[in-house]
Symmetry: C2
Subunit: 244 residues, 2 copies
């Protein structure tokens, strides 16, 4: 009997070429399919909740795999975790209906971006946070973030390397908080365009230069050049995917 197994996965993106399977490259999807196939001695296809780029991390990535074995879920999880490398781990497993798809069924996604504003960059955390030395204005960032909340055409917040034609997305929430020597951005939306989170964070960090009126203009015109820089992938985490 076919069973659809949902996996909540944590991975460090540093040594992966992103989520999506690519011939000859180490990817999270590729690694999962390889190890699950090996474990069950049957080929399998792992579906994911979306692409993540090279270097981007995930705290709770959602993926599914359809299996035909009667293996208890705890054994499935423990055996798989023994086969997986140190930089990827299955945190939870759960059986879900066969028509559940981690991407098409997703209602909300939350990304986190961590910026280190210490004077000197950290060597130990260099893969996990992005160092930022330009002056930042917390209050202005918090306010400017609110311009983006709601449904908008986010074409300006999208890298040109995309096949997407519908740029309308809804952002439910943006929070910007100072936690010790870090600034943590958390953005929840119904979906995100390519590099959208990284451009939002770069734009808020550079708000003194970008100015609020240009965010408004960019949402209308789709003009990428009005906004701030695209932040690097380290520092970016897929934090949560919600389905109801």
């Amino acid at each position: 009997m076919k069973r659809n197994i949902m996996m909540i996965i944590e991975y460090s993106g540093t040594n992966f070429f992103g989520w999506q399977k690519q011939t000859g490259k180490r990817t999270v999807q590729g690694e999962l399919e390889e190890k699950i196939s090996k474990m069950l001695n049957a080929s399998c296809k792992v579906e994911g909740c979306g692409r993540t780029d090279r270097g981007v991390h995930a705290k709770n990535y959602v993926a599914t795999v359809v299996i035909e074995r009667n293996i208890p879920l705890t054994n499935f999880k423990n055996a798989l975790n023994k086969l997986l490398s140190d930089d990827v781990v299955v945190k939870k497993v759960k059986e879900v209906p066969l028509d559940f798809h981690p991407r098409f069924s997703a209602k909300r996604k939350t990304y986190e971006y961590i910026v280190d504003v210490s004077k000197t960059r950290s060597a130990i955390n260099h893969n996990l946070v992005t160092h930022w030395t330009e002056q930042v204005d917390m209050e202005r960032m918090v306010k400017a973030g609110q311009i983006l909340v709601g449904e908008h055409n986010f074409k300006a917040f999208c890298s040109s390397h995309t096949n997407v034609t519908d740029f309308n997305r809804t952002i439910y929430e943006i929070s910007v908080k100072k936690v010790g020597k870090f600034i943590k951005f958390e953005i929840t939306g119904n979906g995100f365009l390519y590099n959208m989170v990284r451009i939002i964070v770069g734009t808020l960090l550079q708000i003194d230069k970008v100015k609020e009126e240009n965010i408004v203009k960019a949402l209308k015109s789709g003009d990428r050049s009005l906004l701030g820089k695209t932040m690097p992938p380290n520092g970016l985490y897929l934090k949560k995917v919600e389905y109801v």
Copy 2:
């Protein structure tokens, strides 16, 4: 005029073959000598406060380099940090007397070891902490640690791969603390033998199996087999070196 420049350095040990220079291998000492030589256009020799193994991190490693240039210290530091890779950074520089040696002048060293006792290992932090699933007894660990404080022959706490003949060392302080899902060990001594911290931590974590009386016996007999396992290098940090 010759100037002895002290550098306080942070590095992630993950992608280094330890501190000490080795032909054809990436080491912290090798990388520093290469970049400083390049920057000053003159060969140089970097002295360190001791070896660290492959995979061991440092928060405040102390090194020195003798230079003959009149470059301001801030420029030295900033220019060097631009040349260094992301996983090593100079946090502070200071001019010290020519006879100061980071290893021979050191009085106390403090190491930290971080153990993750979560049920599921962390993929994102896999290089920075060591996952531990065996049962631990905090109170018993704290007490057993005190057996080691003072001057002892630590031969039993030393890996056999060593040229050392004097195994006497003084431990000034051992602390074991639970911080969230982590156990943090901090050990201060006048010097450490090869793998000494990693064997102390393994012995305390396995104290239920090892038993206190065997620690006492091991200090007398030098018998390594009475003690716990040697912990892996990830999780270990050189935290501080003191000179007065």
